[in-house]
Point group: C2
Chain length 446, copies 2
Amino acid sequence: MNASPTNQVPHVVIVGGGFGGLETAQRLRKSNVRVTIVDRHNYHLFQPLLYQVATGGLSPANIATPLRSIVRKQTNCDVLLAEVTDFDVAGQRLIFADGELNYDHLVLAAGATHSYFGHDEWQEFAPGLKSIGDAAEIRRRIYLAFEAAERETDSARRKARLTFVIVGGGPTGVELAGALSEIAHHTLKHDFRHIKPEEARIMIVEAAPHVLAHYPEDLCKRAADKIREFGIEVHTHTKVTEITADAVHLSGPDGDTVVATMTVLWGAGVKANPLGQKLASAIGIDTDRGGRLPVNSSCQIEGQDRIFVIGDIASFTDSDGKSLPGLASVAIQQGRYVAKVISRLASGQSIDEPFQYTDRGTMATIGRAAAVALIGNRRFDGLFAWLLWLFVHLMLIVQFQNRLLILVQWAWNYVTFNRSNRIITGEQPAQLVSPTNERTSRRHAG
Amino acid sequence: MNASPTNQVPHVVIVGGGFGGLETAQRLRKSNVRVTIVDRHNYHLFQPLLYQVATGGLSPANIATPLRSIVRKQTNCDVLLAEVTDFDVAGQRLIFADGELNYDHLVLAAGATHSYFGHDEWQEFAPGLKSIGDAAEIRRRIYLAFEAAERETDSARRKARLTFVIVGGGPTGVELAGALSEIAHHTLKHDFRHIKPEEARIMIVEAAPHVLAHYPEDLCKRAADKIREFGIEVHTHTKVTEITADAVHLSGPDGDTVVATMTVLWGAGVKANPLGQKLASAIGIDTDRGGRLPVNSSCQIEGQDRIFVIGDIASFTDSDGKSLPGLASVAIQQGRYVAKVISRLASGQSIDEPFQYTDRGTMATIGRAAAVALIGNRRFDGLFAWLLWLFVHLMLIVQFQNRLLILVQWAWNYVTFNRSNRIITGEQPAQLVSPTNERTSRRHAG
């Protein structure tokens, strides 16, 4: 089974089955190459909806589609479940912990991970949201916080349990905060007997002057108003100076404050996948500050015409000198371009044109029937923007079934404020509340 | 908020939010008692469909419903997320790692766990199926096995990777085997390039003369035929003598054999939750061999009229001297009975009648359009039995939304043979295949 004729044609190895990598693979469907997608997970993750998993609105499987089933019909495409540990550039090989793989063309589309700005010790107290594992952990912390508060008798500790601090006012932070507000005010409204979930304190902490700072100021302002309407505190111009197991230290306009909380979520910074650094050292170049690999106008590393880098792990500077943002649309368009280039090279042609990013607009959801959208110069917010957001994202999801299930689930959740996926999995803390806690006995008193 | 009048009425504490415990709580809705359900999970798990999660047919949230949302409207019912560590019988108290709770009436409905018949060292190699964690782990092993086989070049090791041994021919074992066969022959059919998933070897190993031995012999035989039709090997009269990381040792009619496999699933034995033993020692009585607590005709521990024990953790011997099986229907009927008894006691009445189990029939599914059902003396198999099984189980699921989603998901899966939930989560093994593996490089040769 290794003697298939495809062994004779150029071998394109794509590292990462995200938006960019998958687009590249699928666009090579008709090309005279054989494609291998290497990913350490067996699924493509639709990250824009990951916050829904983290807040119990969707199941992981709703937004994760097995890579094999996506490319099932693409006979020139192979999927390899493996973790890349290093690059042998001269030998045109990928190194795995348990094997290796030769390539003729390499497409690195390994994406990004969290950045704690040199404070990696914060990670355990403030999980970020990039993987399904992250989402499960965040969901666990959110719902455990309410459970712990329900059993807590010390009012200060109960208040801390019901305080949620989201670091970073970008799309992820705003989405998480919006969902948290819905959980507190609607989903859990009648679930508890000893706490009022709606008394939960939800804070967004943002160093910049605005939340959703990538959007025009008027949209930012309207978004901020909407966020406050949802009962969320917005603290701009505010830096996080320390995060511990039970507190966040802030430095803002009104000086330094310490907020007692056991639930901090990280939506602040991203950096490129460490594979970027690995490849950079293998070649002998430098990454940018975000660990991203600088690429030329054809998404190649200068002087390495067999190596393409796309998406969040690439630093692409467009014609007017500004670096492209870490958006799915950038990765997808770069994937499409790289597939075209590789097809040309495979058929003996040369690269005919540089990559050109077309901004088709961006949107961010805030919560129930609230979002902001920027399409060209047109700006939308409120219900229309939200419906737009909903439509676009549903249409983008890879697999029909998931789209249908998500639609059913969302329709149901929207009507009922229900979040059926709020089950707490993963290991339980042995002690949910401090041993000195009195509720459980006191409740029986009298 | 602790001064509510409900503090004056008898406090019924139910340990375990499974079928029995939940039924007890809900049946006490109108009684003049206050109820607290204590569970270490925040959800009620619909165990009959757990095998669907383990095989990627359903998401955990489809079969797990938050306990709080189930009893939301039952104002006299409280839910406590806590793990019981011990019992203070004299003091009528439950002891938690992080608190304690007094009761007037205790209902122990903590269910069962796996029994490895004194070979607990087998657990890591042969996970059982009782919790969502178990299901996730089994799903991970099943789909990782195919991924590893795809990358394996050594034919013997590849064969071992594609060998699945299910220990125990009871309902769980048969359900898992049937689902595995569907995965191998349909779901993954076109997913791989280097292996044929349908070549997977699926074995059921059963010490008894028949699979589904609880059913009449003719049903067993027809079930066994159906199982073989699905391409599953049925080894009855066969004992497991040893399980290691890469092999299962069997002792059967044709002597002793060693089967090379990396995926063994345990469906053989159950024993009562260890809390049964804890309570037995606290009282100073003995459990039965299965660790179950002997109860009298009113589901009480003899001489402990404040302690009721129901479901899989109870050993109830009925009027004609035989012990009731570990079925959901037994737990539910006992829960209903105990609720009635406690209501009477709470209103100053005495227990008027012993518990009487009514067998409404049992059913087990084998796979696609195949099941067996025993209702009174009527026996069904094939498609009708399966539709019956499907209908009964869908109707039994607690929450409407889940029922709807499961229906959509099953309809879709049935038509497409798809299993959308086959994503592999949890920590990945660093080495999926042996480092000496050649496929990854060899594939590029020539």
